[in-house]
Each structure stands twice: as structure tokens, then as C-alpha cells.
């Protein structure tokens, strides 16, 4: 009842707010009606009509004056006040454009940086999948005693889990993969995803056209109607020009016809937030799609699947985990006949478990969670710094406005109203700053995402960082926090003083002012401290990055281009294929600017790996990393050849197995002997290799870990039938003409393969340092901004406080104070603040650097040079910021200063 009345009243008030005119007209008409009746009554009582009207009008004269009161009754008083405050604040802010610009820019910077990094975090870690009831999704994992659970499944484990419908409605697996699709001009690589039968029923997103894939399709050879695929809306547009009869058409993938049975809408991007597959193919088609590999026959040796499930409503995480625990043992036993493997896993307490899967799954999350959180912390630091800076500036300005505020207080304005007005001012600044930041954020986050994802090592990986509700909520939260942070303290401070003192004293500096200047100093000192911590952090990250680059990869990446040839689906194999490679190499070497050409199976630093256990005769097997490389590989890569010879085209399968060891591997196998001429054995395959050379160590998987023990075998002796190799080309000068040449050479020699993909080795190196580079770039940028913002803050507060002391300084000078002493006096104010701030900042930096330690490469978090340099940078900025106000103070003319009081 009460609620109802309140609501009705609110409605009336709101109506009247938007129809101010009508309310007043209404009242006028009501009064007119009253007047007419009164006139009639007077006439009836015997007055003349004229006299009657006059008397009645007189009676109602006072009522008109109450309109104002009535209006107030009808309207939201605070809303009117709010508008008045807004327009007042806008006028004030426009009157001091310098202050406004600084305030907006610093805040836009803080908010923009935070929003940009938050949208990365949002895209990678938070955003739920756009599917119904995403909270019911779970990611399944394998616990086997290691520090982290495993997320890769083999086919037997997944098939064992697939039909457990006691706690799950659906269990499904997927594997992102490049698919080779036949187009009008030869084969093309298209990002795709192999999905199991319950993938679409588990995700519950209806198709745009046709149907989705079902368990029927996920069988060897497909459903009775043949092999089926579902395509994305984007692919439908690009490949079929949105033809309405696309369902039922054929697509030739990996030289095999598939039937398109459905189209998925644009918003559906599968379950990996870093990928957007264009073709969804059944899991069981893997032997066709991935030929010549076969992950299904690979059994427990092919860990290629990610498994997710939709949990039945009402079943708790504990319930799910208990059910998974119960089936773990039986599935393990059904999966393989390898008793040793089962025994080993049982010893490690092998079992399945589940975690929340509402935002899908991606490996990038495991790689980048920590760097992202660290960057978010940096962004928080810069935002706090921007707020501290604005608080100080507003306080300084509030002090300058002391008299205005005191006068308004004295004239009866409530303190509350004044605080309101000051808060509205900071709200305006915060809102405008946030808006500016939001405009810039998408650009920043997109380039950060590109930089970050280039380090994940996989092809076709992107991150959607677009703004969504969560990002906007976050920005709104930031705005509100910033408003309160920057507005409340100065507002309380500015309105809390003693009126009389403020009005009377005007510009004189006296004891009460001294006391009230402690807070701004504390604020400025914390700002300096924060800036120092940021600068020191940036220094450490940059030092570490420089050291990483300087440490070298063991090869010279400059001018080297990798060209990837996908040979796995074309008809040639073994020696015939090697002849093609030889021809390719020959033709490439004649291209302008090309100095050397060779081949390699694995591109170093691309996060791909191949390893095996090898032993020296009589020694125990050791794990080493492998690659197969072509003739003159080490010359092309500029890896030093210490002893022995390079491989040649003559090192065929028939000429005996050969191997080249790097220095670490040579030392490992033959610590006291010359390696060249020795044999190393592969106990598993019972093969033996002759060592023909020892070469320098080169980084294999990433830049951070030291070079691993590695062995190289000739490409001709690779056990794969159809290896897809990369040509390694060292080019002098521009690489652009090479791209066209490569395309035409490949089209001529091996017409059926997709266009070769060219990547610069520089890019690979940069990519492998993606996270480090992003952190360092951001840190430098933030440090620069922190220095700038702090400088502006120190300058602003000092010049405000100096301008308030103009008359005092004038008197001092009139009494004979030297200009240099005045300068020193003003200068000293900031020196103190900067010194205290630096001290505190050093302490903070030392504490925080421990958290940074895990990101640093061969750099101590207490690197004295970095710390000293940071203090130096801040000192320089603080001095520069203090010099100008000090100079201005020294130039004060005593007469003018005293007269202006």
C-alpha cells in the first residue's frame, strides 16, 4: 500500500517534471475557475460586475505568488539543483581550460589503460560463451599427481566418458585444426574444428540454416548419407556468397567430398574464445582431415582433444567430481592394454575432474593469466596515480577558491549543497575522462591482443576484445570510484574551514593554512611514491627484455624468412617429395636478394616440439629435442659449425643414418670424447646414428629457457612419408618480391598444395616474447605517463600554493629577502615532498618487485642501476616541475604583490 502510494507520487512528480508547462497551465485554469465563481457570487450578492471582478482578483492575488512554492512541491528539488550544479561546473571548468585539459587527459589515460587491459582479461578469462545456460558447462581435466591438471585427452578416454549421462546431459570433445579446402584456385587453408557428436546438442545453439552435427555424423565414414560438415555464417558468406541452397552442397576437404548440412549464426564461435572456426567437421573424420596422421588410431599416444560437458541442472561440482572419480579407474583400464602405463597412472592417483566452463577453454589462458593480472595491477597503479594527481590539483584549486566558497557558506548555502556542487564537478571530470578513455580503449586493447596472441604460437588465433556490458559496467565502476576519490577529500577540505578566518585572511598565509597543507603534501608524496614504483617496475621489465634479446637465440633471425609448405595432402612422397623440395630450394636460391636456402621441419621458438630418448653406446637414454633440417641449414641460420660437416642432398635413407648434435647434446652424450664419428642409439626404435658434426646451441622452444640439448637429422631421413617442411631463406634487402615468386614457384612445382605461408624469423622471435614485449611496452608507456602526470601535479600544486602566497612573498621581499632565497624557499617545498615520496616509493618498489620477479629474465628485482635510475628520473622531473613556480615567485614585484591584496 505504502509502496503503491510512493510510486504514484513518484509518477506524478516525474510527469510534472517533463510537463512543467502543463502543470502551471493546469493551476492557472483551476484558479480562473475559482475566480469566475467568486465573481458570480459577488454579483449575486449585489456588486456591480466590475467591482465584483476587482474584489475577486484581489482575493486571489496572493495565490499567484504561491506558484513558486507549488512548483517546488511538484518537482524534484535535487534534480533541479543537480542541473544547476552541472551547468555551474561546466562554466567553471571552461574558465580554466588548462586544468580541465590536464584533468581529462590524465583520467582518460588511467581509465583507457584500465579498460583496455580489462577488455583483454574479459575476452580471455571472463566472458561467458554466447550459448544458453553457459553456467552449466564444465571443462574436464585429468589429474595425475602433477602440479597442474592436464587438459588434453586421448580418444579412448574421451569415448569412455562420452556416454556417461548420470551427471551430464552431454559430453563433447573438439580439436581446432587447419582444414585444406578445395577452392576455385587450388587448395586453401581454412580454420576449422573437429567436433564430437554431442558438441552441438551440448552447446544448444540452433543453426541458422539446415541442421547441426549429431552423434550419427560422428562415426567412421559419417552417417549413412555420407560425411557432413557445418559451416559458419562468415564462411557461408565468403565461400558461397550466402547462397540459400547451400545445405546439401559439397565441399572437398583434404581431397574428400563432405556435404554441408548446416550454417551456424555469426555469434556462435565454438568454445575457444581465441578462435573462430569456419568449418565444423566430425571428430571421426580425423584420419581423412589430418592425413597422413591419425589421432584416433594413435590411442593413448595422441593427446589431441579438449573435453567439455553440460552438467545436469541441480548437480553440484562435488557431485560431478564424485561421479568422475568413480568412472576414472574403469575408463583407464578399458583404454589400453599397456599394463605399465596403467600401473604408472594408478600410482599417480589418476582421475578425471571438472572445472567451471562457462567461458569455454583456451590454452592461452594458462599462458597469459599471470602477465595479464600483472598488467592490470600496473593499470590500477596508473589510475590511482591519476586520481591522486587530480585530488591534489582540485585541493589546490579549492584552496584558491576558499574565499568564494566561504562567502557562499556565509550567505547561507548548506555545506551539503557545496559538497554536492564540488562532487558534481569531479563527476563531470570523471565522466568526460572515462568517455575519452572508452573511445581509445578498443584501439589499444586490439593492438595489445595482437601483440599478446602472437606469442601463443598457433596459427589463426585471435582474441575478441570488443566492448560489452561487463566492460561498460567496469568503466562505470571506475568512474564512480574516481569521482569519490578525486572529489570527496577536496570537497570536505574546502568546505570544512572556519568561515571567518577564510574571508578575513584572504591570501595571507598563517598557521591554519600550514596545518591544512599537510594533506596535499601527503597526497603528492604518495603520488611520487607510486610513480617511482611504476618507473622502477618498467625499468626492470625493460632490462629483462633487453637481456632476453641480447642473450640471443643462437641463430641470426635478421633477414631470415620461413616459408611453410603443406605437403601432407598431395600425392608425392618419400624420395619423390625430396626431389620436389630440392627443386624448390634451387628455384628459391635464384630469386633476387636470396643468399641461402635450406629447409627445416620445426621452426625454432614456434612452441612446437619433437623429442626422443637417445643414448651413447653403453650410456643411459636421455631426452633430447629433435629437428630435421636440409643441406646448408647451419650456414643459412648462422649457427656456428664447430666440427664436422653440414648435411647434403646425398644423405639419403640409403646412405646410413646421420645426426648433428648441438654442443649441449654432445657434452651430454660424450663428456670426455670427440663426438664426431661416434654413434648414438635410439633404444626404442633400435636404430643407430652417426654423428657427423657438432654445432652451436640454439634456443629451441622459447627465448626464456636456456638452449636445450638438441639433435638434427637430415630431412631425407625423416621417418614421415610426407613431411611438411619450412624453407628457410636468408634474404638481403626487401622481402616483398619473394612472396609473389614463392607463390608462383609452388603453383608450378606442386599445384595441389595451398599457397605457402611466409613468416619472418624476426616475427617469430618477437612473437615468442609476446607477453614480455607487451608488458615492457605498457610499462614504459605507463612509466612515461606517470612521470609526466607527477610532474604536472607537482607543478600545479606548487604554482597554486605559490600564487596564494604572492602577498606574503611580496612582504618578504619588501623587507629585504633576496630573490634567490625566495626561489629556494619555494623550491624546497617540492624537494621535501619528492624526497619523502621517493623514499616511500623505493620501499614499495622493493616489496612489489618480488611479485615481478617471476617475469624477469636474468635481472634481479633489486637491480641497483634500475632503482638509482628511477630515483634520478623522478628527481629530474620534480626539479623541472618546481623550477618554474620558483622562478615566477622570484620575479614577484613587492609593490604589485602587496597592492593586490
Amino acid at each position: 500500500m505504502k509502496m503503491e502510494r510512493w510510486l504514484a507520487s513518484l509518477m506524478l512528480r516525474l510527469q510534472s517534471l517533463f510537463r512543467k508547462e502543463t502543470v502551471e497551465n493546469d493551476f492557472d485554469e483551476e484558479l480562473r475557475f475559482h475566480l469566475e465563481n467568486q465573481v458570480e457570487q459577488f454579483v449575486a450578492q449585489g456588486m456591480s460586475p466590475r467591482a465584483a471582478r476587482k474584489a475577486a482578483t484581489k482575493l486571489l492575488a496572493g495565490v499567484d505568488r504561491q506558484k513558486e512554492q507549488l512548483r517546488e512541491l511538484w518537482q524534484f528539488r535535487w534534480l533541479e539543483n543537480f542541473w544547476r550544479d552541472v551547468s555551474f561546473s561546466v562554466r567553471l571548468l571552461r574558465k580554466s581550460p588548462g586544468f580541465t585539459a590536464v584533468a581529462l587527459l590524465t583520467l582518460a589515460l588511467g581509465v583507457g589503460a584500465n579498460t583496455a587491459v580489462f577488455s583483454l582479461i574479459n575476452g580471455l578469462l571472463l566472458r561467458p560463451l554466447p550459448v544458453p545456460h553457459s553456467e552449466q558447462l564444465a571443462v574436464l581435466r585429468i589429474e595425475e599427481g602433477g602440479p597442474q591438471p592436464e587438459y588434453s585427452f586421448c580418444t579412448p578416454f574421451f569415448r569412455g566418458l562420452e556416454n556417461r549421462h548420470d551427471v551430464f546431459t552431454d559430453v563433447f570433445a573438439y580439436d581446432p585444426d587447419m582444414l585444406q579446402v578445395q577452392g576455385h584456385s587450388g587448395n586453401e587453408n581454412v580454420p576449422g574444428m573437429q567436433v564430437s557428436g554431442q558438441f552441438f546438442s551440448g552447446l544448444q545453439v540452433p543453426p541458422l540454416l539446415g541442421r547441426t552435427l549429431t552423434p550419427e555424423d560422428d562415426r567412421k565414414g559419417g552417417s549413412p548419407a555420407g560425411l557432413a560438415v557445418v559451416i559458419s555464417e562468415g564462411f557461408w558468406e565468403r565461400w558461397f556468397d550466402r547462397a540459400p541452397d547451400v545445405v546439401g552442397r559439397k565441399l572437398v576437404i583434404a581431397n574428400t567430398p563432405f556435404t554441408v548440412v548446416g550454417v551456424m549464426p555469426k555469434r556462435f564461435r565454438g568454445v575457444d574464445p581465441t578462435r573462430s572456426p569456419e568449418i565444423y567437421a566430425p571428430l571421426s573424420a580425423d584420419p581423412i582431415l589430418d592425413a597422413p596422421r591419425n589421432h584416433i588410431d594413435g590411442g593413448i599416444h595422441s593427446w589431441w582433444l579438449t573435453v567439455m560437458a553440460r552438467v545436469k541442472p541441480g548437480i553440484s561440482v562435488d557431485g560431478v567430481n564424485a561421479a568422475l572419480q568413480a568412472v576414472s579407474g574403469p575408463i583407464l583400464h578399458d583404454s589400453t592394454e599397456d599394463g605399465n602405463y596403467i600401473k604408472g597412472e594408478e600410482k599417480a592417483h589418476f582421475h578425471f575432474s571438472a572445472e567451471a566452463g562457462s567461458s569455454g577453454f583456451t590454452y592461452a589462458r594458462i599462458l597469459f593469466r599471470k602477465p595479464l593480472v600483472a598488467m592490470f595491477a600496473m593499470c590500477g597503479g596508473i589510475l590511482l596515480l591519476a586520481c591522486l594527481n587530480l585530488t591534489s590539483l582540485l585541493m589546490a584549486r579549492g584552496a584558491a577558491r576558499e574565499r568564494e566558497l566561504a562567502t557562499r557558506l556565509a550567505m547561507g548555502a548548506g555545506r551539503r549543497r557545496l559538497i554536492h556542487q564540488l562532487l558534481v564537478e569531479s563527476l563531470l571530470i570523471a565522466t568526460a575522462g572515462t568517455a575519452l578513455g572508452l573511445v581509445a580503449a578498443p584501439l589499444v586493447s586490439r593492438s595489445l591482443a595482437t601483440m599478446l596472441m602472437s606469442g601463443s604460437g598457433a596459427q589463426g588465433v585471435t582474441l575478441d576484445t570488443s566492448l560489452d556490458v561487463r566492460v561498460f559496467l567496469f568503466a562505470a565502476l571506475v568512474t564512480v570510484t574516481a569521482t569519490v576519490l578525486i572529489g570527496l577529500v577536496p570537497a570536505l577540505q574546502a568546505t570544512g574551514g572556519n568561515l571567518n578566518e577564510a574571508i578575513k585572511d584572504g591570501q595571507h598565509a598563517n598557521k591554519t593554512h600550514e596545518r591544512r597543507r599537510v594533506l596535499p603534501r601527503v597526497l603528492m608524496a604518495s603520488e611520487v611514491a607510486l610513480a617511482l614504483a611504476l618507473v622502477a617496475g618498467a625499468g626492470l621489465l625493460v632490462t629483462s627484455l633487453v637481456k632476453l634479446y641480447k642473450s640471443g637465440a643462437g641463430f641470426d633471425p635478421r633477414g631470415v624468412v620461413n616459408i611453410a609448405f603443406a605437403m601432407d595432402k598431395q600425392p608425392l612422397k618419400d624420395d619423390a617429395l625430396m626431389q620436389v623440395y630440392q627443386q624448390l630450394g634451387e628455384e628459391l636460391s635464384h630469386q633476387p636478394g636470396v643468399k641461402n636456402v635450406s629447409f627445416e621441419f620445426i621452426v625454432p621458438l614456434s612452441h612446437r616440439g619433437w623429442n626422443g630418448r637417445y643414448a651413447a653406446p653403453g650410456g643411459s637414454p636421455k631426452l633430447i629435442w629433435m629437428n630435421s633440417v636440409g643441406p646448408k641449414y647451419f650456414e643459412t641460420m648462422r649457427i656456428p659449425l664447430y666440427v664436422g660437416r653440414e648435411f647434403g642432398w646425398g644423405d639419403t635413407k640409403a646412405s646410413g643414418l646421420k645426426v648433428i648434435l648441438n654442443q649441449s647434446a654432445a657434452k651430454q652424450f660424450f663428456p670426455d670424447r670427440d663426438a664426431v664419428g661416434q654413434q648414438i642409439l635410439n633404444p626404442g626404435e633400435k636404430t643407430s646414428y652417426e654423428v657427423v658434426a657438432v654445432v652451436g646451441d640454439a634456443k629451441y622452444r622459447d627465448m626464456r629457457s636456456p638452449a636445450l640439448a638438441a639433435a638434427y637429422v637430415p630431412i631425407q631421413q625423416d621417418t614421415q612419408e610426407k613431411p611438411s617442411l619450412n624453407a628457410v631463406v636468408r634474404v638481403e634487402g626487401t622481402q616483398t618480391p619473394l612472396a609473389g615468386a614463392v607463390r608462383s614457384i609452388a603453383a608450378r612445382l606442386v599445384p595441389s598444395i595451398p599457397a605457402p605461408v611466409m613468416t619472418g624469423m624476426d616475427e617469430v622471435v618477437d612473437g615468442s616474447l609476446g607477453a614480455e614485449r607487451m608488458m615492457a611496452v605498457l610499462a614504459i608507456f605507463f612509466a612515461g605517463c606517470a612521470l609526466l602526470v607527477t610532474g604536472i601535479g607537482l607543478y600545479g600544486t606548487l604554482s597554486y600554493s605559490t600564487s596564494r602566497r604572492t602577498s606574503e612573498i611580496g612582504i618578504r621581499m619588501a623587507l629585504g629577502a633576496q630573490r634567490s632565497r625566495v626561489m629556494g624557499m619555494v623550491f624546497r617545498e617540492n624537494v621535501l615532498v619528492a624526497a619523502i615520496g621517493s623514499g616511500a616509493g623505493l620501499a614499495v618498489a622493493l616489496l612489489a618487485s618480488r611479485a615481478l620477479g617471476s617475469f624477469l629474465y636474468e635481472t634481479s628485482p633489486r637491480d641497483p642501476w634500475v632503482l638509482v635510475g628511477s630515483v634520478g628520473a623522478l628527481t629530474a622531473i620534480a626539479s623541472a616541475a618546481s623550477l618554474l613556480p620558483a622562478l615566477r615567485a622570484a620575479r614577484i614585484e613587492p609593490i604589485a604583490a602587496i597592492r593586490c591584496e
Binding site: 507520487s9 493546469d26 483551476e30 475557475f33 504561491q66 512541491l73
Partner: protein
Amino acid sequence: MSKPSDFVQGTLDVLLLKMLALEPLHGWAISQRLKAASGNVLQVSEGSLYPALHKLEVTGWITAEWRPTENNRRAKFYSLTRSGRKAMKDQVADWDRLSGAVSLVLGLEEAKG
């Protein structure tokens, strides 16, 4: 012109509610009825009447509606809402208690002597 005797704070509200409880009325009618019903003792000035009516409307105790009068002129008719009726009953009870108490006090015999 003598000012009409000031209403005890809040009394006007209950009087208005009571009048409107009988039938919907416009402002003019209310002022005439009040005068007549109180035997010309209670007169409410226009300057008090309309703000009071509007306040009651904003509070939600009465609602207003433009309607033609008997002689076909447009007038704003006020009528009681359900919550207004309840408020009136409460306030009438309050008033009865208050006036009873006042009468009791005023009815005391002065001590002789």
C-alpha cells in the same frame, strides 16, 4: 478584512479529506461547503486551500480529474483515494482524541476560594 482563524496545524487536511469523502468536489465548492457546513465559522483562504489540495494530491491521498460542472464549465474535481480514506479515518480518530482531551482540560472546575 479579518483573517480567517488559523487552522490548527494539520486540521485543514483532515477537513478537506472529510469533505471529499462525501463526494468529489472542485476547489470552489470545497471552500463554499466548508463555510456552510461549519456555520460560517471556518473560512479557508484560497492561498491555503490550493497548496493543501496539491500537497494531498502529491501524497497520493486524493486524485484530481478535469470534468464538466452542472453548468458545463471545466473544473478540476478532487476525490478521495483508498489510502486517503484510511488516512482520513486515522486523522478523524486523532482529532476526536485531541478535542476530547482539550474539552476535558477546559471542563475543569475552577477552585473556589
